[in-house]
Amino acid sequence: MVKVIVNGKEVEVSEGSVVLDAIKKTGYSVPTLCFFKGVYNEAACRMCLVELPNGKLVPSCAYPVSDGLKITTDSERLRKTRRMVLELILAVHKMKCYQCARKGGFCLLLDFAKEFGVEGIPVCAECPLHGEDCLLVKGEPCLGFLTVAGCGSPCTREGTPCFGCRGPVTREDVIESAVKRFIEHGVDLRDLHSRMKLFWSSFPQFKHVFDLVLKYEKKYMGEKK
């Protein structure tokens, strides 16, 4: 048995185990994506990084324990790194949830994306309508600009404005530019609000997003007058 200190808490684990075992034993948790005990242990996703006292980041799923090893599982730097890694994965992820076997049901990637506040691309990116065909440009209350992609945009494809069933994007700059567009193209704001409430009110981040929408509506409506 070797002693490992996780966030100042001592724990004993058997020799030959990895840091992740020790972390689990203390009750702390680190996000893991590619790790599957006994099946895949290649430390490829770099989500489970932990910090050593010398400032090195090591993957907890593959780093062997040694006596007196001190590790930190949570810090500003670690959170930033994990978030960035997640952003990188989502940046090239195809987000074809509608084709995926998981159907967004048991998807670690989406769960982490929600947890870290990293969204993928909005529905607009998948939408085949561009330019003059865009529903938003036509003045229809389409929420595609503010909704997380992955559905394959079945509604807008058929000419129906997006209902936002996959939840809102929370990034402030995206919301700001979306609201700017809504006002620019003369979308009916009351219609828009009711549409937002339809699906989004069940999402925990709804209040935050809605407040931001109202804030920027006030700003840009004022500018327009």
Binding site: E42, A43, A44, C45, R46, L49, K56, L57, V58, P59, A62, Y63, P64, K80, T81, M84, V85, L88, I89, A91, V92
Partner: protein, 651 residues
């Protein structure tokens, strides 16, 4: 048939492959040791003289290494052979390795008893006849350098001695001592020059004593990371189990670095000797030489060396009668840059791909789960030399933390491109300006890129930095394998960073996300900046993402890949800002940010530019000043190239 130095001198010598003599190596030169026979002694002395000066007293040496062959050494060799044959001269035409001074390739060396050894640089096949007749006529005035003075030849005082040239004088040729002198395809010649002495000495010691000697010498791995060699060996030696492996890492992939290739092509027996010593020290019975397949001559020379060593009992069972068995296999790499990383190299030998997480380090769990040590070619050459020459001399060179010498390949904007060996701690300035000759008249060094695609750019203001692992790391670069690319003011630093990033993007194995996706995004951002679509936030993205890729990547490739971006961003931020703010490229390299115009003062109205313009952007009558229509110009640069008076300028 002539008697070979490696053969028995008479029937009294009882050495066979089955029952080897312990003093076999020493006996070759100092011998005979087991019996006293003046005839046998004379036989050896005569043969050694023959090897060193040629049978006929007139030796013509043509270098045969990848670099010289590329410069045309094979044609020169053929021309020399033809010349010797047609004139009926009694001469030995032999090959040698590369001297490391690539700017004078292909060179030939002529030496005749009573005449100074003369080196002729940049020889063309057509000049061979003239050179030989001049030399035989006692005139050396057209030589590039001489190895010695005799005072008998004509024009001797005009030609400098090789030792007096700045590029030779400032070097300390420790591992490269035989490069350009010894015939790389002859084990006999290597032994005549004192080779395999280190092995002879090492096999008489206990492995712990060898580790102690390497520790006292203070040798650190020359592959880039600078891990103490003795410690690696000690860890591997202390591992339980009797199956261990040694691997020579000859997978040199950095653009601009070729010192391993040079060593292994010019003096392959020295590196092989180092490998055998390493195997004896850790108790391995099987070794691998992992050679890059793109360097076929290097693989050929090493295979030949292994074959010869096996033939004379320096590899195989019961080496030199010490009860130590060891054999070597040469393996060709599939050519991926990442295979230079030790865990990826092991995976490649095992038949898998991609690196794995360390620890466990290969010294405890490596090839097929057994303790394995992986050493660079240059490190092993150092080991052989230290064992032969003693650690005191090695430890007296270098800095406090790093002892000895290191080979550096200086390329780019310098007059004398080549591989030079200097003590660690020599300043970059001395290496680049005194030895390599600087960038030439009217040009200015802007930065020096050290360590290949994983290294960084050191600006001209830091050229006085002594080269050492720690000091370079502080400056934002790494020692790496030792490739130095000199960048002058004609290069754009954003473009340089983009070039090195494109290399790592292509060579990333794709296992871990930060390296695979992060580097691609870095490259895309740099491309955007060079195309004039950059924003000021991009610099922050580069900095932040580079830091993440560096700290979160799995292996050393990703861990060092952002270095070119981060170091140029650190020292040349103004150039990046000029690209994103003013949309101007200060060095006028980035195509989309350059505007061509015709200087009316210089234009002679010849119309060449108008004829060559693919987009009809140039207008003007013959004999009158021409003008470029910027809105039509596609910036192909044709007019810039074809203008006979240089009137087309960039702005």
């Amino acid at each position: 048939m002539t008697w070979n130095l490696m053969d028995k001198c008479c029937d009294k010598c009882w050495h066979t492959l089955e029952y080897p003599c312990r003093n076999y190596i020493r006996c070759r030169i100092e011998g005979p040791l087991c019996h006293d026979d003046p005839d046998c002694r004379r036989k050896r002395e005569y043969r050694i003289r023959e090897i060193l000066y040629g049978k006929t007293g007139f030796k013509i040496k043509v270098p045969m290494a990848s670099c010289t062959i590329a410069a045309g050494a094979q044609e020169v060799y053929k021309a020399v052979l033809d010349e010797v044959k047609s004139r009926g001269i009694n001469a030995d035409v032999t090959i040698s390795g590369c001297m490391g001074m690539c700017y004078m390739d292909p060179w030939i060396e002529l030496s005749k008893t009573g005449m100074p050894s003369a080196i002729y640089a940049n020889v063309k096949p057509g000049q061979v006849s003239k050179i030989i007749s001049e030399y035989l006529g006692g005139d050396v005035s057209s030589a590039y350098a001489l190895r010695n003075h005799t005072g008998k030849a004509k024009g001797e005082d005009k030609v400098p001695l090789l030792e007096e040239l700045p590029q030779w004088k400032n070097q300390v040729r420790w591992v490269s001592r035989n490069c350009g002198i010894v015939n790389p395809e002859s084990i006999e010649e290597y032994i005549a020059l004192g080779g395999y002495r280190g092995l002879d000495k090492a096999l008489k010691m206990k492995p712990e004593e060898i580790i102690e000697i390497i520790k006292k010498a203070g040798l650190r791995g020359r592959g880039g990371a600078g891990f103490p060699t003795w410690l690696k060996w000690k860890i591997a030696r202390e591992q339980p189990g009797d199956v261990k492996y040694v691997i020579m890492n000859a997978d040199e992939g950095d653009p601009g670095a070729f010192m391993n290739r040079l060593l292994a092509e010019s003096d392959p027996h020295r590196v092989l000797e180092g490998l055998i010593i390493a195997a004896y020290t850790i108790g391995a019975s099987k070794g691998f030489i992992f050679v890059r397949a793109e360097k076929p001559l290097m693989a050929e020379r090493l295979s030949k060396a292994v074959e010869q060593a096996r033939k004379y009992g320096l590899l195989g069972k019961n080496i030199l009668g010490r009860g130590f068995d060891f054999d070597v296999e040469v393996i060709l790499s599939a050519g991926a840059f990442v295979c230079g990383e030790e865990t990826a190299l092991i995976a490649a030998i095992e038949g898998r791909t991609r690196p794995r997480q360390r620890p466990p380090y290969p010294a405890t769990k490596g090839l097929w789960g057994k303790p394995t040590i992986i050493n660079n070619v240059e490190t092993l050459a150092h080991v052989a030399t230290i064992m032969a020459e003693g650690w005191e001399k090695f430890a007296s060179m270098g800095t406090e933390k790093t002892k000895g010498t290191k080979m550096f390949c200086v390329t780019g904007a310098v007059q004398r491109t080549g591989a030079y060996e200097v003590p660690v701690g020599t300043t970059i300035k001395k290496l680049v300006e005194e030895i390599a000759g600087g960038p030439g008249e009217g040009r200015r060094i802007k930065a020096v890129q050290i360590g290949g695609p994983s290294g960084g750019c050191v600006p001209a203001s830091l050229l006085t930095t002594p080269i050492d692992y720690e000091t370079l790391q502080k400056a934002g670069a790494i020692m790496g394998s030792g490739g130095i690319v000199v960048i002058d003011d004609k290069s754009c630093m954003v473009d340089v960073a983009k070039f090195f990033t494109s290399f790592t993007v292509a060579e990333s194995c794709g296992k871990c996300f930060p390296c695979r996706i992060g580097m691609k995004i870095l490259y895309d951002t740099l491309t955007r900046i060079t195309e004039g679509k950059g924003r000021e936030e991009d610099l922050e993205i580069l900095r932040e993402l580079g830091e993440i890729v560096r700290s979160a990547s799995l292996c050393a490739l990703g861990g060092t890949a952002p270095n070119p971006v981060l170091s140029t961003l650190r020292y040349f931020e103004d150039e990046y800002l000029a690209h994103v703010r003013d949309k101007k490229c200060p060095a006028k390299v980035c195509r989309n940010l350059v505007e061509y115009w015709i200087n009316p003062e210089k234009c002679i109205g010849c119309g060449t530019c108008k004829q060559n313009c693919p987009s009809n952007a140039i207008s003007g009558e013959p004999g009158k000043k021409h003008v470029i229509d910027v809105s039509k110009c596609i910036r192909c640069g044709q007019c810039f190239i074809v203008c006979p008076v240089g009137a087309v300028e960039k702005r």
